[in-house]
Each structure stands twice: as structure tokens, then as C-alpha cells.
Amino acid sequence: MINANLKNSYAADERVLNNTYKQMFVYGMMIVLALFTFFANDYMILIASQMGILLIAVVGINILTGYTGLVSLGHGAFVAIGAYSVTIFANLAEGIIPAGVMPFFAMPFAVALAALIGVLVGLPSLRVKGLYLAVATLAANFIVIFLIEEDLFQPWTGGMVGLTTHAPNFFGWVLDTKREMFGMIAVIGFLALLAAQNLIRTRIGRAFIAIRDRDYSAEILGISLLRYKLTSFALSAAYCGLAGALLAYFFARILPEQFELTLSLNLVAALIIGGMGRSMGPVFGVIIVVLVPELIKVLFSSAVGGSASAAQFRAPLQEIAFGLLLVLFLLKEPLGINQIVDRILRAANRWPFARG
């Protein structure tokens, strides 16, 4: 890093976007996103919205797994809690809270509830590490989905048939097109990413990383493992809850099966592929995890046309591709795409003085 990196104050040195490349990149992205919202076609809006929703959840997983080093294979449950509680809250509060401000109550409620349950699920993390935690969270995921489907709660959750969510209404502006919805997802997603990045460079984020790297050494510095592990769980669950709320709004229809283990594994896989514990990791990972199956779909339909008997091979192929991708990254590039991008950027930055 030869250029663009000279600082003359601590404040300049402590900024997130601490060189001109990063600044240009971020401002550029904002412009691209704004243009995209207005000019992209419906199909692209659909794909990008999926990415945005997933991104928020993966940023949450990054806080927990990437930075704090706690593995969860059950965060799909928090997406479910976010999606269901935003809908159920709106259903129950209908008539009490005016429709035009409902999202301002329903979304925070959904996020807070997810965070609260996140603390509960995180409790075993105080006593068990690694693998045990992975199984404990996986168990929690099964239990949450089971309760949603269970007859007992069916009057609220809709059981196996799910629920319909009304489009969000901001002071009379109803987001009834996918394009408007994407605008909302893009803004919230951008802020969520920025907030996570902020968090990581303050004492709280440093405490998370310290726990990940060496927990006893963190304790000796006065970091309470209890408090920070639970905080990390709560934050990651809150991010997933927010993603769930947006997902419910976007698709307008939620079913319990959307939030099963597959989703939880997708979230972790996206993080691994993108780069764990790196701020842009979730972005790269989500792009891959959404685009690859989509690509297979497109290639497949152009290869076999509309043949129904061939179409049944598509889903399994997507599944296999997903698994292979995860395994390949773990074997060949465990630090994810972020690492590849870093390498390229470093090389570009030195060029033409040195190569490699």
C-alpha cells in the first residue's frame, strides 16, 4: 500500500473508509444502487432484493461467527421470528396502531423479540464451545419451527399454511411494488452493514474478536465472556430478525418451511464463501449464494428447454452446486472471496512497482 494511505491525524487514521479507494468504492456503490432502483428490470429487482435480505442476516452471522467465533447452525430460526412477529404484531395491533405508522412499531418489535430469544438461545454458549454450540443452536432451530407449525399456536402463526403479510405503509405511502420494496431493503441493508462495521471498530467489536482469538486472554483484560457472548448473540439475532421482517414484507407470504435448517446452513455457507470476520465478506458471499443457483436455472432452461422431466433435475443440481462450492472454499480458500479480492487489490495497488 504505497499510495493513498498517508494520515495526519488520529481521526483520519481511525475512519472506516481510511483510504480514497474505499471511499470511492462506497460512494460509487451508493450511486449504482440508486440508479439500479430506478432502472433495473423486475427480474433484477427480485434477485437484488433477495440478496439484500440475505445480506442483512449474513452480516448478523458475521458478528456472531466471523467476529466472536461462536458457531450457530440455527439462525434461520431468528429470521423466522422476525418474519412471523412483524406479521403477527401487525395483525394483532390492527385498529390500535394506525396503518401509516405500523412498520415503525412492528419492525422494532420483531427485531427486539429476535434479540431477546437470541439471548436465550445463546445461554448454552457460556458453558459449551464450538461443536456443542452448533448442535444446541441447530436444536433451537428445530424447536422454533416446530412451535410455529404446531396446532396450539396455529391461530396466530397459521400453522403449516403460513401467513400473509400486508405491504408496509409509511405515513400513507404503501410500498406495493417490488421496486419500492427494494428501495427500502437497499437503504436498510446499507445502514445495517455500516452499523456492523462501526460496531467492530469500537470496544465492543474488539471484545468480540478478542473472545474469538483467545477467550482467556480476553477475560484477563476485563472482558466479561458472559456479557459479550450474549451481546453477540442478541445482535446477530436482531440482524436476522430484521432480515426476517423485510422478507415477510417483500414476499407477502411466509411459510414455516422457508426457515428450516437449509436457511441456517445457507447463512453460514454464504459467510464462509464470502470471508469470515471481514466486513465485505457477507456481501461477496451473498452474491455467490444467490447468483449461482440462479445461473444454474438459466443455463439449465436454455439447455433443456421446457422439458418437464429434465426440470426435476434442476433443484438437486442446485443443491449439489451449493455443497460443492462450500466444500471447495473450505478446502482451497478458507478465508473466502474477500481474501481473493484483497490479493488482487494489493497487487493492483503496487503495480507497476512490483507484482504479486
Partner: protein, 253 residues
């Protein structure tokens, strides 16, 4: 300042500590020596709260801290370095040292997510303090942005000391700070330790095998062997103690 009373600790059958008694006096450097496996690191682990003693008391500034959790002890001002460097390998030197300031900072989750405002003010204040009090002091300004893994062993030890200093400790436990260092590095480290004592008035507890250094800088020495405290006193007293000579010659033979 730091009082150890009748401390016992065992792991299954191994008696790691058997009736340790001494005081680390305020503002002084107290040495803890003994052959390998004598229980020195275990003693530190009890003082910093990782191992619960079977019997005995640890008190700090008159307060009983025997059952307090490690992070609470840290907040009281107990800092330490480890025999096998325990830095955070995923971070830069600067971030490692910043972690030393953790307990003094106030930023909560909300402020952290927003950053601008309270969190930023506090971060910049911490940065300034660390630059002056730690980075300049330990002469590590040239490596502040380096990841830990890129540093040679001696510098890693120094950064670990820096992280402990950033805590503004009242008592500092150093577990073999110069082990594996060459002459020059050892002399540097000894100088830093003396400077810490002089400039900040920190009470220091030092485990070390390098006898020259221990005899030079400690005002009081405690000798352990097989978990037992076989002697304590000034460097001159201890070096004449027959039990100590026996233990060291026995270990060397």
C-alpha cells in the same frame, strides 16, 4: 498491596501449590522463581482468577478477591502477560493494545452502532492515550499497524506488555517476560520493566528464570519448588539460602 495467604491448589493428584504466603508490596518488584513445574504459572493463574484455589486467600488492596471472576479482577487493576504469548493473532498491534483500555471505556452497543458522537470521541481519546503512554514508551511506533503474526518473538512479548500497560494496572504480573530473548532484548525488557515501576509506580510480580535479571531488579524474592514455598526475602538473603541452593543445584544436576 497483593497478599497471598496459605494458598493451596491441586489438579487431581498433582499438588501444584502448597501453602504459599507472601505479599507483593506496593510500588515494588517482587520476583517469583523456581525450577520448571514449581507452580509459578499456576500461582499466577490463581491470582488472575483462572484456577480456584482449594484453600487460602488472595487479597488485593485489602479486598478479598479469591472468588472473583478474572474480568472483575482486571477492572480492579490486575494485569498480566503470559508465558506463552497470548496476543490476539487476528488483530494489529494497535488493536491489541487498545483492548487493554477496554474496562475504562463506556461506549454501549447503541453508540457503537452509530459511531459518530460518543463512541468516536472515546476512541480518539483512547488512541491518543495509547500513542503517548504505551506506543512511544515501549518504542513500537514503527509496527503499530502490523498484524501480530508478522512480528518476531521479542517484539510480540513487548506488545503483550504494552497491552497490559494500556490497562493502567495497579499490579502487573509478568510470566517469564524475557524467556527466549537474546542479551540485548533482555536488557531492553529489563529497562522497560524498571521504567514502568518508576514512572507509573506499578506494583510488579515477576516470574523469571534469568537469575541476573531477577537479582538486579527485584527488591523481594519468593522461591517455589514442587509447589512449596522454600524461601523468601531480599535477593541477597535468598541467594544464600541453603534450601534454594539445594533446589537449584538439584535441578541442574
Amino acid at each position: 498491596m497483593l497478599n497471598i495467604e496459605n494458598l493451596h491448589l491441586s489438579f487431581g493428584g498433582i499438588k501444584a501449590l502448597q501453602g504459599i504466603n507472601f505479599e507483593a508490596r506496593e510500588g515494588e518488584i517482587t520476583g517469583v522463581i523456581g525450577p520448571n513445574g514449581a507452580g509459578k504459572t499456576s500461582l499466577f493463574n490463581v491470582i488472575s482468577g483462572f484456577y480456584a484455589p482449594g484453600q487460602g486467600r488472595v487479597s488485593f488492596g485489602g479486598r478479598d478477591i479469591t472468588t472473583m471472576s478474572p474480568d472483575k479482577r482486571a477492572a480492579l487493576g490486575v494485569a498480566r502477560t503470559f508465558q506463552n504469548i497470548a496476543l490476539f493473532r487476528g488483530m494489529t498491534v494497535l488493536d491489541n493494545i487498545k483492548l487493554g483500555g477496554h474496562t475504562r471505556l463506556q461506549t454501549n452497543v447503541w453508540q457503537a452502532l452509530r459511531y459518530f458522537g460518543a463512541a468516536q470521541r472515546e476512541e480518539l481519546e483512547l488512541r491518543r492515550e495509547i500513542e503517548e503512554r504505551v506506543i512511544d514508551f515501549l518504542e513500537i511506533d514503527h509496527i503499530r499497524k502490523f498484524p501480530i503474526t508478522m512480528l518476531p518473538y521479542g517484539l510480540q512479548k513487548r506488545v503483550e506488555l504494552g497491552r497490559a500497560l494500556a490497562m493502567r494496572p495497579k499490579v502487573l504480573l509478568l510470566d517469564e517476560p524475557v524467556a527466549g530473548m537474546n542479551r540485548e532484548e533482555t536488557a531492553d525488557m529489563a529497562r522497560f520493566i524498571l521504567d514502568v515501576q518508576e514512572q507509573f509506580g506499578t506494583t510488579i510480580l515477576l516470574v523469571e528464570h534469568d537469575m541476573h535479571m531477577v537479582m538486579d531488579i527485584c527488591s523481594h524474592i519468593v522461591v517455589l519448588n514442587f509447589g512449596q514455598q522454600i524461601a523468601s526475602g531480599t535477593p541477597a538473603e535468598v541467594s544464600k539460602d541453603p534450601a534454594v541452593i539445594e533446589a537449584y543445584l538439584g535441578a541442574a544436576a
